[in-house]
Symmetry: C2
Subunit: 201 residues, 2 copies
């Protein structure tokens, strides 16, 4: 594997994923990942900000798709409709190839604190991005924040639901988000809190 083989980044990701699965994240040195990919530590850090980031590539693309969809949603769309559109807009990145190493990736992340930490930050990033996009539509601060948070929740649940079955993520996202909406409805219309007249307002 020569110095100028193409797809250095992809090779690094695959090598990292394999090594993390084989021996655990903490027991794998960056130099080892680079070596398996036929590269060096220097090159690794040229492609990824740090060791964690090799598992979280392309998340900024997702955020851009979300904000773009919210900005481009019909003017009469409700905040929740806009958020739903944001989730649907990310479907194009959920390719079959991505699904292939999804479980492996999830397992590695679940087994390490640093990685769960990075994952949490990415989710916060999504929430902030959607909140800002909603605010630019004139949605009040707090409503925007709530809607965005619900969107992130649905996104995560949708992803976990999409992984085993595959298929069109847009559909899964719509279904999951409608369930979240339903859950919200049940929460606010609980006994003692009739809808329309909040008991705490």
């Amino acid at each position: 594997m020569g110095r100028w083989e193409p797809d250095a980044r992809e090779r690094l990701v695959r090598a990292a994923l394999d090594l993390f699965s084989e021996q655990g994240y903490e027991n794998t040195a960056v130099a080892q990942i680079a070596e398996r990919a036929g590269l060096t530590k220097s090159t690794f850090f040229r492609h990824f900000r740090d060791k964690r980031e090799v598992l979280f590539g392309g998340q900024d693309v997702l955020a851009e798709l979300m904000t773009g969809a919210i900005a481009g949603a019909p003017e009469d769309a409700t905040p929740l409709d806009a958020v739903e559109a944001a989730l649907v807009a990310t479907a194009e990145t959920f390719t079959e190839e991505r699904r292939a190493h999804g479980p492996q990736r999830l397992a590695v992340i679940a087994g390490n604190d640093e990685l769960r930490e990075r994952s949490a930050l990415k989710m916060v990033g999504f929430a902030v991005a959607m909140t800002d996009a909603l605010k630019r539509r004139g949605v009040p601060e707090l409503e925007a924040a709530v809607a965005a948070e619900l969107g992130v929740l649905a996104f995560n649940h949708g992803y976990e639901r999409w992984l085993p079955t595959g298929g069109d993520f847009a559909e899964v996202a719509r279904r999951t988000f409608s369930e979240v909406r339903e859950a919200v409805g049940k929460l606010v219309s609980c006994v003692g809190n009739p809808p329309g007249k909040s008991s705490v307002g």
Copy 2:
């Protein structure tokens, strides 16, 4: 400052906070923090898992207060009521002394990625804790997750609102959470989505 002065942990926290404010988080070495506290690097890592953690002490106590309040809420309390009780239950930790270095702490965290990452993880921890506590009350998975997420959102907003003014955090939490409830109500009762019959169900 001798070897056996008391309050090593508190001294480390104060030294870290001051140094981070003076020269930035990244420009401050752990050895330097320890030195200012009259201790050594070894001792620092005996008190804190890593450099970040010196700014996030006591968050596990908060999670326990939250879960305890949810578990101990009246049987007929709605999920949202239980979450509100969880926020109120954390009030006892919001002392005036804690408020004193709150802004300093927030500023340091906001200025560094590693720290925002850790903060995000802590919030996810709260959400998971409250979700589990709600599920143990028989609340369905998704509703529990939504309610917990709303709680975390209110907690954060409440904290930022409490910092400048001080006073009883319980009151601030109640007020903030009621505003979140109101926001949720507006979201689900938007034009095109009459409450009671979801347009996407």
